[in-house]
C-alpha cells in the first residue's frame, strides 16, 4: 500500500522533470543548430552570391523546416564526380549538423546508380530516399510515371518545405529536366558539357601556322566544321608528327568494345554531325538518337519507320569516328575505354580532341602536367565543337550532362520530403558557389556571373567563357524522345563496336542498332508498361519515302566534305562577348 501511494508522486515528479528537460533540450538543440549554421557559413561557405545575413536567413529557414524530420536517418545516392564528393563529405555533414537530420550521401559508380534506380522502379521498394540521376532519363521518368515530379512536390506535399529563395529562374538547366507535358521532373544539381579541346600553344606557333596554311590554304585555328577538324588531325598526325622531339597526334578517341563506347555515341555524337531535326534542347520530331516521335509517342528509329539512327548522317558520323580513330589517333587508342582514354591528352602528345568532357578540367590543370604552364594556366583551351556537314542552324551541337535530383513515388512521403530538404540545401545560393568552385559543374546563372568565377577563369581554359556565352544552349542532354534510356543505351556499344573493330561496315552496324532499338520499343508497346506517351511504332515502308520528306532523316549529301573553316580562338571569345 505504502509503495503504491508513493508511485504516482514520483512518477509525476519524473514526468515534470522530463518535460522540463525536453523543453530545455529542444531549446538547446535549436541554439546548437544555429551555432552550427553560423560556423559552416563562416568557415566553409565564405564565397557566396548572397551576403552573410542572407545566407543565415536561408539556414534559419532550413532549421525551421527540418524540425519535424529531426533525428531521421536519410539516405541519398549519386555517382562519383568531384561535385558529389564535395556534397558527400562537406554538404551532407553541414546539413546534418544544421538541421539535425542524419543525412548520408552515398557515392557509387554511375552504372550502379542506374541499376539501383531500376530495381526501385521495378519493385516499388524504397532503396534510397533521394537520387542524383542524369537528366538523360527524363523521357524514361516522364513515361513510366514512377518518379514524383519536383514540380508536384513544390506545389503539393512540399509546399511549405520549398525554400523561398530557391530561385528556379536562376537555374540554367531546367529545360533539360522538364517533360513534354511542361512539368519539371528533376532539379539540376551539377552539369558539365562535352566540347572541343585543343593545344592553344601549338595553334599559336608561327612555324606550324605557316606550314598549315601552305598545305591546306587556310588558317590554323579552332575548327568550325568537321572538314577543318579532319585537316588539322591529319596535319598533326601525318605532317607535323613531332614537336620538340616528342611524337604528337592530331586526334584522340577510344574504341574498345566496352559499355563506355556507347556514351561516345549516345552523348550526342550524331547531333554534331547534324543527324537530327532542328529544335532545342533536342531535335523534334527526330532527336539525335534518331528516334522519331509523333505527339510524344516514339514511332521508330530505323529510317524505314521515319527515324534516323541508320540514316546517311548517322552513317557519316560513324564512318568519321572509325576513320579518324584508325588514321589519326595514337595506335593504343583503339583498345582503350573511356576512362583510359580520358587522361591521355593531359600527357602532352595530343593536339586536339573533338569529343572531350569538361569534367576533366580539374585533372588537366594540376601543377606539373605537361599541358600546364609554370604559372598554373593551361596550355590548352576548350571551344565549341565543330559541326558536321548535315548540321543546320537551330540544331543542338553537343552534349551536356545534367545530374539532377530525382524522387520516387515509392519512397515514403516523409523520407522523400526530408531528402527534398537536403536536395535544396545542395543547390541553395548559400552553398552553390562554393560547390561550383569545388566541382566546376555550374548550375546557376548567378554563380557563373559571379566575381569568383571571373577570377578563376584564366585557369580554367575557357570553361567560364563557355558557360557565359549564348552558345551554351546548343549543348543539351539526351531528350524526351528516348522512352527507356537504360534499355536502349545499352544496345549502342555492342553495335558501335562492330563498326569500330571493322567487323561490320558503319551502315550495317547502324542498321542492326536501329532494328534492335525498334525491337525494344516494340516490346515496350506490346507490354504497355508506360502510362504516358508509350511507343507506337510506325509501319515499315520504303526508306526513300522518309528521306524525301523535309527534315530528318536527311538524304545523303553529294559532298560530305565542304571547304574547311576555322576561327581564331580570340575572335570566338569576342563574338561571345558581343552576343552576351
Amino acid at each position: 500500500m505504502f509503495k503504491n501511494n508513493k508511485y504516482p508522486r514520483t512518477m509525476l515528479l519524473g514526468a515534470a522533470i522530463g518535460a522540463a528537460a525536453l523543453g530545455l533540450s529542444l531549446q538547446a538543440s535549436a541554439n546548437e543548430n544555429l551555432d552550427a549554421a553560423e560556423k559552416w557559413v563562416n568557415n566553409s561557405f565564405k564565397r557566396s552570391t548572397l551576403t552573410k545575413e542572407q545566407q543565415m536567413q536561408e539556414m534559419k529557414w532550413f532549421i525551421e523546416a527540418a524540425k519535424e524530420f529531426r533525428g531521421m536517418d536519410i539516405n541519398v545516392v549519386s555517382e562519383t564526380i568531384a561535385t558529389h564528393e564535395y556534397e558527400s563529405t562537406v554538404l551532407a555533414k553541414a546539413f546534418s549538423e544544421i538541421t539535425g537530420i542524419n543525412l548520408t550521401h552515398t557515392l557509387i559508380q554511375e552504372g550502379d546508380v542506374i541499376e539501383k534506380l531500376q530495381t526501385q522502379m521495378q519493385s516499388g521498394r524504397n532503396i534510397y530516399d533521394g537520387w542524383v540521376n542524369d537528366s538523360d532519363l527524363i523521357g524514361t521518368h516522364f513515361r513510366y510515371g514512377k518518379v514524383m515530379p519536383v514540380e508536384d512536390i513544390m506545389n503539393g506535399e512540399g509546399k511549405n518545405l520549398t525554400l523561398p529563395t530557391l530561385d528556379l529562374e536562376d537555374f540554367i538547366g531546367l529545360e533539360f529536366t522538364t517533360g513534354p507535358d511542361g512539368k519539371l521532373y528533376q532539379l539540376p544539381d551539377q552539369q558539365f558539357a562535352n566540347l572541343y579541346w585543343f593545344r592553344a600553344d601549338w595553334f599559336e606557333r608561327d612555324d606550324l601556322k605557316k606550314q598549315f596554311q601552305d598545305i591546306y590554304g587556310y588558317e590554323l585555328g579552332v575548327p568550325v566544321n568537321w572538314s577543318a577538324y579532319e585537316d588539322i588531325a591529319e596535319f598533326f598526325s601525318v605532317h607535323v608528327k613531332e614537336i620538340d622531339g616528342e611524337k604528337v597526334y592530331g586526334h584522340m578517341d577510344y574504341g574498345k568494345k566496352d559499355p563506355s563506347l556507347g556514351w561516345r555515341f549516345t552523348d550526342a555524337w550524331f547531333s554534331m554531325a547534324g543527324a537530327g531535326d532542328k529544335g532545342l534542347p533536342n531535335g523534334l520530331p527526330v532527336d539525335e538518337w534518331g528516334i522519331r516521335v509523333e505527339e510524344c509517342h516514339p514511332v521508330g528509329s530505323s529510317v524505314s519507320r521515319g527515324g534516323a539512327t541508320n540514316g546517311p548522317a548517322a552513317v557519316f558520323a560513324t564512318t568519321k569516328y572509325v576513320d579518324w580513330l584508325r588514321e589519326f589517333a595514337p595506335p593504343e587508342a583503339q583498345g582503350m575505354t573511356f576512362s583510359e582514354a580520358g587522361p591521355v591528352p593531359a600527357q602532352g602528345g595530343v593536339a586536339q580532341q573533338i569529343f572531350w568532357y569538361t569534367a576533366f578540367t580539374a585533372s588537366m590543370i594540376e601543377d606539373g602536367l605537361p599541358v600546364v604552364n609554370e604559372d598554373g594556366t593551361p596550355k590548352w583551351r576548350m571551344a565549341p565543337s565543330p559541326r558536321g556537314p548535315y548540321w543546320e542552324e537551330g540544331m543542338k551541337l553537343g552534349y551536356q550532362d545534367v545530374g539532377s535530383w530525382t524522387f520516387m513515388k515509392s519512397t515514403p512521403e516523409k523520407r522523400r520530403l526530408a531528402a527534398w530538404l537536403y536536395a535544396q540545401f545542395t543547390v541553395s545560393k548559400t552553398v552553390s558557389l562554393e560547390k561550383t568552385i569545388a566541382g566546376l559543374t555550374p548550375i546557376r546563372e548567378s554563380d557563373i556571373e559571379s566575381e569568383a568565377m571571373t577570377e578563376m577563369a584564366p585557369k580554367l581554359g575557357g570553361l567560364v567563357e563557355f558557360y557565359r556565352s549564348p552558345a551554351r544552349v546548343q549543348w543539351s542532354p539526351t531528350g524526351t524522345n528516348v522512352p527507356d534510356y537504360p534499355k536502349l543505351a545499352q544496345l549502342w556499344w555492342q553495335y558501335i563496336a562492330q563498326a569500330a573493330s571493322g567487323e561490320a561496315t558503319p551502315q550495317k552496324a547502324l542498321d542492326g542498332l536501329a532494328q534492335a532499338q525498334d525491337r525494344v520499343m516494340e516490346r515496350l508497346e506490346r507490354a504497355s508498361v508506360m502510362p504516358n506517351c508509350g511507343p507506337k511504332l510506325n509501319e515499315e515502308r520504303d526508306p526513300q519515302y522518309w528521306l524525301d520528306q523535309p527534315g530528318s532523316p536527311k538524304a545523303k549529301l553529294a559532298n560530305e566534305k565542304p571547304q574547311g573553316k576555322t576561327v581564331a580562338y580570340d575572335e570566338l571569345l569576342k563574338t561571345w562577348e558581343e552576343d552576351r
Binding site: T106, Q109, R125, I127, P343, A359, S363
Partner: protein, 268 residues
C-alpha cells in the same frame, strides 16, 4: 641434379608470372595517379601512402571492409551450424531419397546468383531485412551450405562408424560424442569448409550489392566509386584492392595444409 635445377627454374618462372598482377596492384597502390597514367615504372618513383590514407581516414571507405567482414563471418558461422548436422545425417543414415537429395543440394550452386537477385530483394525488403548484414549472410548460405554439406560429408565418411558405436558403449550421449569426439576428428574439414564459405562470400558482389544500400554496403560496392565521369582513381582502387586480398591471405595461411583435401571434398 640437372633435372632438379631446370625444375626449379620452371617453378620460379611460374611463380613470378603468377605474382606479377599482385605485384602490379601493390606497386600501383603506392603511386600517384599522375605516375600511374604517365608511363611504365617498375616501382613507385614518388612513393606515397596517400591512397591508403584516403581509405583509412574516410569512414564510408573503411566501413565497407567492416561490413564485408561482418556478413562474411555471420555467413561462415551459419553455414557451419547448418551444414554439420546435415552432413552427419547424410554420412551416417540411410533414408528414402537420400542420394537424390544429396545431389539436388549441389544443384543450388549451379544457378548463377543473378537468378536470385530480384526474388531475394523483394523478399528481404518486405520483411525489413534489406540493407542488413544478416540478409547478405543468409543469401550467401544458399550457395555455401550445399558445398559445405558436400565437403563435410566427405570428411565425416572418412571417420569409421565404429567410433560412433564405441562412444555409445562408453556411455557418451550423442551431443557429447559429437562435440567432444567427432568434431575434433574432422577439424581440418571444418577449417577447409569455413575457408570455402569465406572465399565465396568475400568475393561475391552481385547479391551483396543488390541487398544493401548504406548500412551494410560491402567493400566491393564501395570500390566502384573510384570510377567516375572524370576518369578512374587508379591509386585508391589499387589500394582498396590490396586491402581486400589481405583477409583472404590470412585465412589461407590458417588452412594451407588442408586445402588440397578440401578440394577433393574430403575423399582422400
Amino acid at each position: 641434379m640437372k633435372q632438379t635445377r631446370s625444375k626449379n627454374i620452371g617453378i620460379t618462372i611460374y611463380i613470378v608470372l603468377l605474382l606479377t598482377p599482385i605485384y602490379w596492384l601493390l606497386n600501383m597502390s603506392f603511386k600517384t595517379n599522375q605516375e600511374i597514367l604517365s608511363g611504365l615504372t617498375l616501382w613507385p618513383e614518388n612513393f606515397t601512402f596517400a591512397n591508403y590514407a584516403v581509405i583509412f581516414t574516410d569512414p564510408s571507405w573503411y566501413n565497407g571492409y567492416l561490413n564485408s567482414m561482418l556478413y562474411v563471418s555471420i555467413n561462415v558461422v551459419i553455414t557451419l551450424l547448418v551444414a554439420l548436422p546435415a552432413a552427419y545425417a547424410f554420412s551416417r543414415y540411410k533414408f528414402v531419397g537420400d542420394k537424390h537429395l544429396f545431389f539436388w543440394l549441389l544443384s543450388n550452386r549451379m544457378a548463377p546468383p543473378a537468378v536470385f537477385l530480384l526474388p531475394f530483394f523483394q523478399l528481404y525488403s518486405s520483411i525489413g531485412l534489406f540493407d542488413t548484414h544478416i540478409a547478405v549472410a543468409l543469401a550467401h548460405c544458399l550457395f555455401n551450405v550445399p558445398l559445405a554439406v558436400w565437403i563435410l560429408e566427405g570428411f565425416m565418411s572418412g571417420v569409421p562408424r565404429e567410433y560412433d558405436e564405441m562412444a555409445y558403449i562408453d556411455g557418451y550421449s550423442f551431443p557429447k560424442f559429437f562435440v567432444k569426439i567427432f568434431l575434433p576428428m574432422i577439424r581440418s574439414g571444418i577449417g577447409v569448409t569455413a575457408f570455402f564459405a569465406f572465399m565465396f562470400s568475400w568475393v561475391e558482389l552481385l547479391l551483396a550489392r543488390t541487398l544493401t544500400s548504406v548500412d551494410a554496403q560491402p567493400i566491393a560496392a564501395i570500390m566502384t566509386r573510384t570510377v567516375g565521369a572524370s576518369g578512374i582513381d587508379w591509386g585508391v582502387l589499387a589500394a582498396a584492392g590490396v586491402l581486400t586480398i589481405i583477409p583472404g591471405i590470412l585465412v589461407i595461411w590458417f588452412v594451407r595444409n588442408h586445402v588440397a583435401t578440401g578440394f577433393a571434398l574430403g575423399r582422400v
